[in-house]
């Protein structure tokens, strides 16, 4: 379970997030809706463990009942897909995936095949489409086998038809791998589970 308790974030004197509380269980995909500039990406980065110097933060974060505030990003059982995330430009898709694979059960190529993406395995990141890139980014975080996955506007820049397929792909895989998921977006069309929406 991911639990955020009384999180406050401010930029100098401006309060961005005040008293944010949420508990998310395995197999749940929550969406946090807020307009641009409201601090939702900053919140996700704080949960991940990436504090930015201009902001001040307080509040507690628990993963599976363990307080993780003092842990570094590497020590946290959390990974994130950033807005405009990057695949390493000098590696092919399969190299990008194998490079981070820490799982003994999962194989990158199997996940690509299961999801009908094996044709791009040997492509370079700049040769694949936006939808394909989003799916590869999700496969990459799945291979890290962290309990919590944070998604920062993962469907930005994808056309409506592709977005529908990509959302389905995310939903299927996040549930299949029993993940705790928190997504932030400003766009209603991006929501994966309509019953689990929180407005900031």
């Amino acid at each position: 379970m991911l639990k955020c308790k009384n999180i406050n974030i401010s930029l100098k004197t401006k309060k961005l997030i005040s008293n944010f509380n949420i508990s998310i269980y395995h197999n749940e995909i929550w969406t946090l809706m807020a307009p641009s500039g409201s601090g939702k990406s900053t919140l996700l980065k704080y949960i991940l463990g990436n504090k930015e110097s201009d902001f001040s933060y307080n509040g507690d974060i628990y993963v599976n009942e363990t307080k993780i505030n003092r842990r570094s990003i590497t020590e946290r059982d959390i990974s994130m897909i950033f807005q405009n995330d990057l695949l390493f430009p000098h590696m092919t898709i399969i190299q990008n995936l194998n490079f981070v694979n820490k799982s003994s059960n999962l194989k990158a190529i199997d996940l690509l095949k299961e999801n009908k993406l094996d044709h791009i395995a040997n492509s370079m990141p700049d040769k694949i489409s936006g939808g394909e890139k989003s799916r590869v980014l999700l496969i990459r975080v799945l291979l890290l086998e962290t309990s919590v996955i944070l998604l920062d506007e993962p469907f930005n820049g994808i056309d409506t038809e592709t977005k529908f397929k990509t959302k389905d792909f995310f939903n299927k895989n996040l549930l299949k791998f029993n993940k705790i998921t928190l997504m932030v977006t400003h766009n209603k069309d991006d929501v994966i589970d309509n019953k689990k929406i929180l407005n900031l």
Binding site: N50, I73, S79, F82, L86, F88, H90, V100, L144
Partner: protein, 531 residues
């Protein structure tokens, strides 16, 4: 006014640092003060000579550098000068000597055409030595200075200013001297300080070109350090002070000259003048190329000849035995120098890569400021003063290893180059997002460096390694200052060979000393490195 304040601030920082270093290292500072009048009288000639020669070098470098760089800038040409930047000072000084001396290549040619029995340039007189010192040091400083200068010119809105000047009916000479030059000189502060610093600390030129004349302060300092260190600390304290004062006066003198130029420009004194500066720049550039190429040729002919008696233009026989002999006798030293240089340049990169990783996590910028000022001061403070004070500080520390200090004193001069070149790449947003990915994807430091940083920044890292390598390989003063002189680089051995062996052997050594420079040349060429 702002430039004046900036300049004075930098000078104050440099002076304070020199004084702090001096105070830390000199426990007999009060006694030193009493020595100043006596030593001033003793070294009066040296002070005068050092100030006049070095100030002339800096002035000439600035003027010629400006003229050549505007020639390149206006013609949008790619300069081959970058290949000359790593040309070793010691090889250059020997080449200059063998070209200009009484039995040098120039006199052989002049003698051949004039049928004169008396060499035209009598190197063995004081004035000619001074001229040779100024020419050689100026020419050797120019490639670096010009390349920086072209980069600076690129940052000036040249076309916009040109249009306005044409509209105001300014002549080209007036435009370059009254509009471009003041803007340019304002941004050239750091390169000028670096060049002043080098002029005041070089030992190669004064040793090779002027062994028989009143010595420069740089040489006196080295001599005192070598001969009197263990029982007399006053003299080198005072000499360091004299060098620092001369350094500051050179800077102020140059500043004054450019302020006068500014005053003359503002009062339209140049309005009627119309000299083609671009053409002058072109000829100066050709002269510069000629000096470097002839330098190389004279070393090559010397090193390949069995003997070469004056006034013959061609040697009586050719051989490669000079090279073989140098290799036979110095192979270990060459390998040692290469290993030390590679090791230290890679270590320097590792240190700064770790620093840039650390920097991302830091919330305040204080460490960055301290580091920036430190590397800047390493560049600006004359190397001889820096090394002596560092040596004295090390003597007070409980570190007994001479080798450690030697390696430390070498790597510290690689740091500024590594820092400035890595800073450009590793302060970027791309690097920050890569680092965030590293954390997010739970990559180890080793994996991150090997699989992400190295492949993406491979060219930059190789280039910096090569620069670091050549900076270390061509360090000179450490071997003279530290310990008993047992640890030395091949670069120093060239000077030893110059003092004790034939012209052929020392030329062969000077050519072999060029090898790392040739590696850099190849790298520039294959990777099409542009300024």
């Amino acid at each position: 006014m702002k430039t004046l304040i900036n300049s004075i601030l930098i000078l104050i920082i440099v002076t304070i640092l020199c004084v702090i270093l001096n105070f830390i290292s000199k426990i007999f500072f009060i006694e030193t003060l009493f020595e100043i009048p006596n030593l001033f009288y003793q070294y009066k000639n040296s002070i005068k000579l050092t100030f006049i020669l070095n100030t002339s070098v800096i002035l000439l470098t600035i003027i010629l550098g400006f003229l050549i760089s505007i020639y390149f800038f206006v013609n949008k040409k790619d300069t081959i000068l970058k290949y000359f930047i790593p040309y070793p000072h010691i090889s250059f000084a020997i080449g200059i000597l063998f070209f200009f001396s009484t039995s040098g290549l120039l006199n052989r040619f002049l003698n051949f055409y004039n049928k004169s029995e008396i060499p035209l340039i009598d190197y063995m007189s004081n004035n000619e030595y001074s001229i040779l010192y100024i020419i050689s040091l100026t020419m050797r400083e120019l490639p670096f200075f010009i390349l920086v200068s072209i980069m600076i010119l690129n940052k000036i809105n040249f076309l916009f200013l040109q249009k306005h000047s044409e509209n105001l009916k300014l002549k080209k000479f007036n435009f370059y001297l009254s509009v471009i030059f003041p803007l340019w000189i304002k941004r050239m502060l750091l390169p000028i300080l670096i060049i002043i610093s080098f002029s005041y600390s070089n030992y190669e030129y004064s040793f090779i070109l002027g062994t028989q004349f009143p010595e420069l302060l740089n040489q006196e300092l080295v001599n005192i350090w070598k001969n009197e260190f263990h029982y007399n600390t006053h003299n080198y304290n005072v000499l360091s002070l004299f060098i620092t004062i001369c350094f500051i006066f050179t800077y102020l003198f140059i500043y004054l000259i450019f302020q006068i130029n500014r005053y003359l420009s503002i009062h339209n004194v140049y309005r009627k003048l119309n000299i083609n500066l671009i053409l002058i720049g072109k000829y100066l550039y050709l002269f510069l190329i000629f000096i470097f190429v002839s330098n190389f040729i004279v070393l090559l002919i010397n090193s390949l000849s069995t003997n070469w008696f004056f006034p013959n233009i061609i040697p009586s026989g050719f051989t490669i035995n000079n090279f073989l002999e140098i290799f036979d006798n110095n192979l270990n030293l060459i390998i040692n120098s290469i290993i030390i240089s590679i090791f230290l340049s890679i270590l320097s990169i590792i240190i700064f890569l770790s620093y840039f990783q650390l920097k991302i996590k830091l919330t305040s910028n204080y460490l960055e400021y301290v580091l920036f000022i430190s590397v800047l001061l390493i560049l600006i403070i004359p190397q001889n003063i820096f090394l002596i004070n560092l040596n004295i500080i090390f003597n007070y520390l409980p570190i007994d290893s001479e080798l450690f200090f030697y390696l430390f004193s070498l790597i510290i001069f690689i740091f500024p180059y590594t820092y400035f070149m890595l800073k450009e790449k590793f302060s970027s947003e791309l690097y920050k997002s890569l680092y965030l990915q590293k954390e997010n994807l739970k990559l180890s430091n080793y994996k991150f460096l090997r699989n992400i940083i190295y492949p993406i920044y491979k060219d930059t890292i190789i280039f910096i390694t090569l620069i670091g390598f050549s900076v270390c390989y061509y360090q000179f003063l450490q071997s003279i200052f530290i310990g008993s002189g047992n640890q030395r680089l091949f670069n120093n051995e060239v000077m030893v060979l110059f003092s004790g062996e034939s012209a052929q052997l020392s030329s062969a050594a000077a050519i072999i000393n060029l090898l790392p420079c040739l590696v850099l040349f190849k790298y520039f060429k294959f990777n099409n490195v542009k300024v």
